[in-house]
Amino acid sequence: MNTFIINDRGVSVDLHDGKATLKTIRQNLNLRGIKEVCGEGDCGACMVLLGENKGETLNYKAVNSCLLPTGELGGKHVVTIEGLNQERLSLIQETFVKEFAAQCGFCTPGFIVALTGFLLSTPDLDKDEAIQSISGNMCRCTGYVSIKRALFSILEKLNVANFKNTKPGSSARRELLIKENILPLYFSDIQEKIKNIQVVPFASSGKTVIAGGTDICVQKKGELEDTEYSFLSQRSDLREIKMEQGKCFIGGAVTFEELRNSEALEKIFPDGKKVFRLIASLPIRNRATIAGNIVNASPIGDMTIFLLALDAMLLLSDGVAKREVKLRDFFKGYKQMDKKEDEIIEWITFDMPKEHSFLRFEKVSKRKYLDIASVNTATCITVKENTIKAIGLSAGGVGPFPLYLSKTCDFLKGKKIEEAVIDEAVNIADSEISPISDTRGSEKYKRLLLSQLIRMHFIKLF
């Protein structure tokens, strides 16, 4: 039995843990407001809010319910479009109506849910972050123009100070949103309701480990109920980012978005918060984990490429024995890893870049945002007196797994930054890669593109 709150009522369902929440909601709970459009987390039409109690706060995240296993719902608050409806239209709904920001209407509930999620979780009313919050929602009819009009009109109607004065997750924020006609009244005592749910401690017994599930649920589409799972989100000990003695530790259950908003990222990569917008969409980043990105072993994994540049180390555990592997040694071939079946990544760790160091991440894809890279690359360089003291350089999409360009790094170390050196580095990098032609681009394109992107890393140093 899985007990949670759906909108304003508690429910217990006896369903397979792997069943997609989208199907649970539409088929078993008979709420048909959210829609299946792509079934792969790429469109946002099935968006729900997932509320989770954390001490005093109740944090809401927008997630794609097609990629959310029902087993993850226990003890949480699930909000669908129906759960945002009141007798009158909410401010968001009313503004969409006024701007005609819906045409066929199929994507509309997802946008309303996502924007409500934004107002629940934003520290202020930053316009760019507001757009970011609906960047995982596709619309085929409006061209987004009327949706943007609606969004800006909503932001204009709200008072920034009120938002700054109420912390995301606090009851004060929820009260504010009730007052602003964004949330229905029942959100007033929802936290109490959640606290009163008896959550059956989860027996993490299944063979298949789900961390964020944003990849496995796509791969196993249609077969999710054929396997038994254990959920890494139950390991609250692995959900933190620590900085200790010049090292950074990222827990195996930390999500992209948690890293993006972390103090650690701010410290090592001040542009990171902005640059990481290029990686997935907000609802995916809210679920996808860093460790999951690594064990997915996609040749193009964005986070893996980022961590390779930092020459990160993985701490693996099978529940009993623990061991360490360098990320650059972790991959053995296409989707082949130095990982036993029952091992998980518990921690990812790297040395915090020191003075005179900086990080860069480059990604080019068919569509700039919410797309899989054609080629990506990252670097962490330490430069003193125009000389490269240390460097990590990685490249994705150009080999069977994410590559650490060690020969290029060896060459660059100790060299002066000048055009001839970079030219030679680009040549060495080209000899280290073996791209193939596929839907992300031809071999020729990928080779040329990587050479350009490597140059981009150094362009500001000249």
Partner: protein, 752 residues
């Protein structure tokens, strides 16, 4: 003005096929389709699937009581393949089961012995092997052949234009429910109720009156549900008819993208001759249309492309040839623009090349050649009420195009790695069903109930384009009542028969005009009755804002009183009316006719920046002057322009359909197929051209659905201009879509 049902959409209460509550005995289904691009079907093995727990049965060609045939124009398309499969995803069987999940699992247990045949994917190869639908269409005006020698510049070239996935958000879906008279009620996500009715009747071998088709709204169509919804509806009809229980089929996205048709890809050869002043003297173009596996609507699409080959320009000597080439991919079908956007890209490409050769700026060439009043069109009409130059000049002036060009040039002089580009595109789009003029008809039924509320039925399908809101406005305006009194009913074959598809941008025109006729019919009766009660002539009665005026004096008769008293006096308050677009005709023998009732004009300017090092680009803005006549609903028309532009930009930039060598779609869901997202969508500024009249449109309005899609062509050429600013030597083929890869290679590939 209020939208008819947007309130239910923002609340998630608007129902689509998969949301309709159905009885618990309803069964679900899934489609087994060909794994290979082309082959002879030898044996279909469904036993294992039939044994799978929860499976009721598996249907295939042998179970069809009527004809195994769903072709619309040419009867070349079976519901289920029985002899030959013609593309990967060509349907072979339908599994019916307790749940859709079970049906999908059972599909994997079906095997099929197929003797593979060599597939063809290149339309030119198909043409060479004479694998075409019908015969090549040739339209000639003047004598291009003898003109070439008189031209100061002759250019020629080839253009490849990719297809496009509709990606309507609601996938193809239908439910059929048996009725107690041995018939069926079908709920379908379709743009044409009568098409579903007639195809299902053909497949089942029962008369059309036994089949009722009902549509409340659909979650997007864009042409993809004009002909192609019939297949899925017919499958459920077959299953429900045989099993005597309701059966539902909702394709998931992967299935939809694998099995359903897309926009036609084109491969075209062009030749253009001009005077040194830049006047086009002759133009020749050959359209190799990639029709995919079946004919579907390819011939009408081809025809519209042929008639729009000169786009917004006058060409005195022209020869257009088009061939609909049969290949082994999904059957291409109608898609917003219907062949005209591809044709426009070809002539714009020719003009770009001509401008380089003549050393005349492209926008000057464009302007010199714009259509004028009474110019001859290749199909024998003289174009009328032309606004080409007016819209072009208005756009140039309003958005200060000379300054845009100057700023672009200045930017490019001072920036090495970031280049800007700008381009203008003039629009001329003919409205009507082209050569299939029989489709230019519609009917409407209007009931006024005794409480004064009004019910309106037409053939129009609401798919997000706002046609229901427009028809409500039309009815409210005609009867001069508050629009809140007017309800637009579902589109249903028992109320409105023999419907044309809601297509060709004509939904509001045809159905709106029919609704006006029906309203006027009742209005006549109301006025006659009121005149007798008040004591004046019927023509002295006016109804304004729900009040009866006699000889321009307000009376104490309001709408409610008028209606109830009309009823009490035993006068009918219902009317059915029929409308057919006047004046248009097509003669297939002479290839002459008045194919279009009227034309939509406009002009758009796009501005882009490309990051020359990475090959990525941003389309910043598309600034438009658009002729919509007198808008029936400005916010709806605005939304149509904006949505169409962005959809078109998607087609020409990131939306690339890629197949494997053996014909499997590799861009079969959003992971690989990239729709525009909120970041890639540009700012769209739209001004409606004022001063345009249109006697064919309800209240002087003009059609809006398709034409603005062509404005995206300005963005395509703006990107090319920006590439040229970086690499003036660029000589590679400039094929659509301009993906970042193509842009990158055009920028950096020196060998090409």
């Amino acid at each position: 003005m209020k939208h008819v049902d947007i309130d239910s959409m923002v609340r998630g209460e608007a129902q689509y096929i998969d949301d309709i509550p159905m009885p618990s005995n309803m069964l679900h289904s899934a489609v087994f389709s060909s794994p290979v691009a082309r082959g002879k079907l030898i044996k279909l093995n469904t036993e294992e699937a039939e044994k799978f727990p929860g499976v009721r049965t598996v249907f295939s060609a042998k179970d069809i009581p009527g004809e195994n045939q769903i072709g619309s124009v040419i009867h070349d398309e079976p519901l289920f393949c029985s002899e030959e499969t013609k593309h990967v995803g060509d349907p072979i069987a339908l599994v019916v089961a307790d749940t859709a999940e079970i049906a999908r699992k059972a599909i994997k247990l079906i095997t099929c012995e197929i003797s593979e045949l060599p597939p063809i994917f290149d339309p030119r190869e198909a043409y060479a092997k004479n694998l075409i639908s019908g015969s090549p269409e040739i339209y000639v005006m003047g004598d291009p052949e003898s003109m070439w020698k008189n031209c100061d510049a002759v250019i020629e070239g080839r253009v490849e234009i990719g297809g496009q996935e509709h990606f309507y958000f609601e996938t193809q879906s239908a439910i059929s429910v048996p009725t107690d008279n041995g018939g069926l009620k079908i709920f379908s996500s379709t743009q044409s109720t009568s098409h579903i009715q007639s195809i299902a009747s053909r497949v089942l071998g029962i008369p059309m009156n036994k089949i009722e088709v009902d549509v409340v709204r659909i979650g997007g169509g864009f042409g993809g549900k004009e002909a192609q919804a019939a297949r899925w509806a017919s499958m459920t009809a077959l299953a429900a008819f045989k099993l005597k229980v309701p059966v539902k089929l909702v394709l998931n996205r992967d299935e939809d993208m694998k099995m359903s048709g897309k926009r036609h890809a084109y491969s075209c050869d062009y030749k253009m001759g001009l005077s040194k002043e830049g006047k086009i003297l002759a133009y020749e173009v050959f359209h190799y249309q990639n029709s995919g596996a079946y004919s579907d609507l390819s011939l009408p699409v081809l025809h519209k492309g042929i008639t729009h080959s000169t786009s917004a320009y006058y060409v005195p000597n022209i020869k257009v040839t088009g061939a609909s080439c049969l290949t082994n991919t999904t059957s291409a079908t109608a898609f917003r623009g219907f062949g005209s956007p591809q044709a426009a890209i070809v002539i714009e490409t020719a003009l770009l090349k001509a401008s380089e050769k003549l050393g005349i700026q492209k926008h000057e060439l464009q302007k010199k050649n714009l259509l004028s009043e009474e110019d001859d069109m290749v199909y024998g009409s003289k174009i009328q009420n032309v606004l080409s130059l007016e819209c072009f000049d208005e756009a140039v002036k309003k958005y200060d195009f000379p300054k845009i060009l100057k700023d672009t040039e200045n930017w490019n002089k001072t920036h090495q790695t970031e280049k800007k580009g700008a381009a203008i595109f003039p629009l001329c789009f003919g409205v009507s069903f082209d050569a299939t003029t029989f489709m230019d008809q519609a009917s409407a039924t209007v009931h006024i109930y005794t409480d004064g509320s009004i019910s309106v039925s037409t053939a129009a399908i609401e798919m997000g384009q706002g046609v229901n809101t427009k028809i409500r406005e039309i009815v409210a305006k005609t009867l001069s009542v508050n629009s809140s009194r007017v309800k637009i009913e579902s589109t249903n074959t028992t109320r409105i028969a023999n419907t044309s598809a809601t297509a060709a941008s004509s939904g509001a025109d045809l159905n709106g005009n029919a609704a006006i006729l029906a309203c006027n019919n009742i209005l006549g009766r109301l006025k006659l009755f009121a005149s007798k009660q008040i004591g004046c002539k019927p023509e002295e009665i006016e109804i304004q804002n729900e009040t009866v005026y006699a000889k321009e004096e307000k009376t104490d008769w309001d709408w409610n009183r008028l209606i109830i008293m009309t009823y009490m006096n035993k006068i009918g308050l219902s009317a059915h009316a029929f409308y057919a677009t006047p004046e248009i005709f097509a003669d297939p023998k002479t290839k002459k006719g008045k194919l279009y009732a009227y034309y939509v004009f406009g002009a758009a300017i796009s501005e882009v920046t490309i990051d020359c090092l990475r090959g990525t680009y941003d389309v910043h803005s598309v600034k438009i002057i658009h002729d919509v006549g007198k808008s029936l609903a400005e916010k709806i028309d605005l939304g149509q322009v904006e949505g169409a532009v962005v959809q078109g930009i998607g087609w020409l930039t990131s939306e690339e359909i890629v197949h494997s060598k053996d014909g499997k779609i590799l861009t079969g869901n959003l992971g690989g197929y990239k729709l525009p997202d909120i970041y890639s969508a540009p700012e769209v500024i739209t001004e409606f051209y004022t001063g345009s009249e249109n006697r064919f449109g309800p209240f002087n309005s003009k059609a809006i659905g398709e034409p603005p899609l062509l404005y995206s062509i300005s963005a395509y050429f703006a990107i090319l201009n920006a590439i040229k600013a970086y690499n003036p030597e660029m000589s590679g083929t400039i094929d659509a879509p301009l993906t970042p890869e193509k842009v990158f290679l055009l920028l950096h590939d020196k060998q090409k």
